[in-house]
């Protein structure tokens, strides 16, 4: 009897572990960020006030709570810089995700249609760039895209351009870098869903009168939808908050939200503003996740 009780207790603990993990590594840091976003900058260490003085007991907490303000969020609304950064981020993430779908889908489809024995090798090749440091790969793109770099060299030799093009410090460079870096995140979930599709479904579609291209649109594409949605989310969300790629490859005219946040934090030492940007960004990114969840629920609950 006691053994049984113990096992139930152990089972509960096992269920609890992921929650503890989330609490320790997501919730607590997030609460700290929210707390800082409600503070004001100060020439102090840490560079904001109020600081929660736990040793002062309940009075300390009350005093702390009284000094919190929404000023940082008001700042986000008052200066166009922030709104533009958000819009820029969404634009880059949206266009990049669309490009990733256009490039990733044929790639994943091609791999899934290859002979079974060859597929693991091809998937490996998609993942292979991860063996090299992300930063080094982005630096390599600087090399390729610079004025006397590989790309201009090749284009000029092919007589496609007469003078070198300034690729770097442009949106084009950002898109090249982002699409290159995130391609595996689009290809892998897509491949997983395409590879699962029973080939006899395509045969059944052909048998019922579908030519190849039509059976793709009527059977393959709808069945790969979950993979496409997962790939899009996996790309769209981190691209929105991307910092390294636009910082190294992009120009300085319009900043993505990650760069703005970095500037607030490191250059301006405005921790509350930086924290407010982060919290707002998180709220913004919840929208596509909620939309995805809703779509999934609709797909499952369709027609009782």
């Amino acid at each position: 009897m006691s053994a049984k009780v113990k096992r139930v207790g152990g089972g509960r603990l096992t269920v609890l572990i992921p929650y503890l993990w989330l609490a320790a590594f997501f919730l607590v840091p997030f609460v700290i960020v929210v707390k800082i976003s409600l503070s004001e900058t100060a020439m102090a260490l840490p560079p904001y006030t109020p600081v929660l003085d736990v040793l002062a007991g309940w009075d300390g907490v009350k005093q702390f709570a009284a000094q919190l303000s929404l000023d940082s969020y008001r700042l986000l609304g008052s200066d166009e810089l922030y709104l533009n950064s958000y819009l820029k981020s969404l634009e880059v993430a949206g266009v990049s995700t669309a490009l990733l779908m256009l490039i990733g889908y044929p790639l994943a489809y091609g791999i899934a249609r290859c002979p079974r024995g060859l597929q693991p090798l091809l998937v490996m090749l998609v993942v292979l760039p991860f063996w090299t440091s992300f930063l080094i790969r982005v630096y390599a793109w600087i090399n390729i895209l610079q004025r006397d770099g590989l790309l201009n060299d090749v284009l000029m030799r092919l007589h496609l351009i007469d003078a070198p093009v300034a690729w770097l410090a442009s949106d084009t460079a950002i898109y090249i870098g982002v699409v290159y870096s995130y391609l595996p995140f689009m290809v892998l979930p897509l491949y997983a869903s395409l590879e699962k599709i029973d080939p006899s479904l395509i045969e059944a579609a052909a048998d019922l009168g579908c030519p190849r291209w039509k059976s793709f649109w009527r059977v393959t594409f709808p069945l790969s939808w979950p993979g496409l949605a997962a790939g899009a989310l996996l790309c769209f969300i981190p691209i929105t908050g991307e910092f390294v790629i636009p910082d190294l490859l992009g120009g300085s005219r319009s900043l993505m939200i990650g760069q703005t946040l970095w500037t607030e934090f490191f250059s301006n030492r405005d921790w509350p503003a930086a924290s407010a940007i982060a919290v707002a960004l998180l709220a913004l990114l919840l929208i596509p996740i909620l939309v995805y969840e809703r779509l999934q629920k609709c797909a499952i609950g369709e027609a009782p």
């Binding site: 029973d198 006899s200 479904l201 045969e203 059944a204 579609a205 052909a206 048998d207 019922l208 009168g209 579908c210 030519p211 039509k214 009527r218 059977v219 709808p222 069945l223 939808w225 369709e302 027609a303 009782p304």
Partner: protein
């Protein structure tokens, strides 16, 4: 297309090779209009390949396939007026029952109204009224099988191909569905070609059976003929249970074998040639005493006795150590059976067996 003089389907010396493997070997076969035809054979005999060539999923390496006199060997599947019911049903999981059944019609220039009407009629035909909005994963195995059948029939194909259509159903449902398939085939008049490895299924549903062995036809005949007059020892052994006794005719109607001299009626075979007498278990009478009358009789001891409910089957060890099978229908209740070790007599009339020369 109409019912002309040409057979509905004609395989002309069709060969299909996959690399070094010959799946179908110079096979010629005609299938008639309105026929329920079965391709029967062990796995790997080429029956599924033959069906897939008819559907268009494989093209013959050599030879031609004619449909109503027209060569369709190279025609892609979506242009062929044949439809297939797949072994695993291959229903589209993202579409509901209605849309699965109507899938083939949406390809053609058919109005939505007509599609809805024909889908409803088809669902009624397979007794699935009211299931149109169900999702595929909400259906039982038997219901899925009906949806697959309806989907394959809605385009009114000239031939319906069925690839092991009942393999996934349990035994009872399978038996019911076999009769439903036959009824449906009679009602529609469409030719059905079924591939199966289950000889009972083939014998039950089909008007004609092609027994296949290693890419070739071993025999094409009616179920009764395949069972009672098999073309070879291989066919006799594949279709049902059989005891084969090797021997030679020493005189017309008299066969010399290891278990003695047997009398065989109505069989033609050259004297002195090695032949085999094939005896079906149910043709053999088992008794405790030597039977009187003009029959072949051999003594033996019961080696194994199996009670199957409707019948009892016995394996009896004969004088030359060979085993002979006998089956007795349990027509009366409480009838005493024989048990292992008992000495029994096996007997059969002269016309009960068939003589096979190959």
């Amino acid at each position: 297309m109409g019912e002309g003089t040409a057979p509905l389907v004609r395989f002309e010396a069709v060969t299909k090779r996959f690399g070094a493997v010959t799946a179908v070997d110079r096979l010629s076969l005609d299938i008639a209009w309105g026929e329920f035809f079965a391709l029967l054979g062990p796995s790997g005999c080429g029956k599924t390949t033959l069906l897939r060539m008819l559907a268009g999923f494989e093209t013959p390496s050599e030879g031609r396939i004619l449909l109503d006199g027209e060569d369709i060997s190279g025609m892609p599947p979506h242009l062929r007026p044949v439809n297939m019911m797949f072994q695993n049903y291959a229903l589209f999981p993202h579409l509901n029952v209605e849309k699965n059944v109507g899938f083939g019609l949406r390809q053609e220039k058919v109005s939505r109204r007509e599609i809805a009407a024909r889908v409803a009629a088809m669902l009624a035909l397979v007794k699935l009224e009211g299931y149109g909005r169900r999702r595929i994963d909400q259906l039982s195995g038997g219901q899925k099988q009906r949806v697959a059948l309806a989907r394959a029939l809605i385009k009114k194909p000239s031939v319906l191909l069925l690839d092991e259509p009942l393999a996934a159903l349990d035994k009872k449902l399978r038996a019911e569905t076999q009769f439903e398939l036959m009824e449906l085939q009679r009602k529609l008049g469409t030719s059905f070609v079924i591939v199966t490895h289950d000889q009972n299924e083939a014998m039950t549903v089909a008007g004609r059976i092609a027994v296949m062995d290693r890419g070739r036809l071993a025999q094409v005949a009616s179920p009764a003929e395949v069972y009672e007059r098999p073309a070879s020892r291989w066919v006799a052994d594949f279709i049902g249970d059989v005891t084969l006794i090797e021997g030679r005719f020493s005189a017309p109607g008299v066969m010399q074998t290891m278990i003695g001299q047997l009398r065989v009626a109505g069989e033609r075979a050259a004297l002195g040639e090695t032949v085999w007498l094939a005896l079906r278990p149910e043709k053999i009478v088992i008794s405790a005493e030597r039977p009187a009358g003009d029959v072949n009789a051999v003594a033996g001891t019961v080696h194994e006795a199996g009670y199957r409910g409707d019948m009892s089957v016995y394996k009896v060890r004969l004088g030359d150590r060979s085993l002979m099978q006998a089956a007795v229908a349990n027509t009366g209740r409480g009838r005493r059976g024989f048990s292992a070790g008992e000495v029994v007599w096996l007997s059969w009339p002269a016309d009960a067996g068939m003589v096979l020369t190959q």
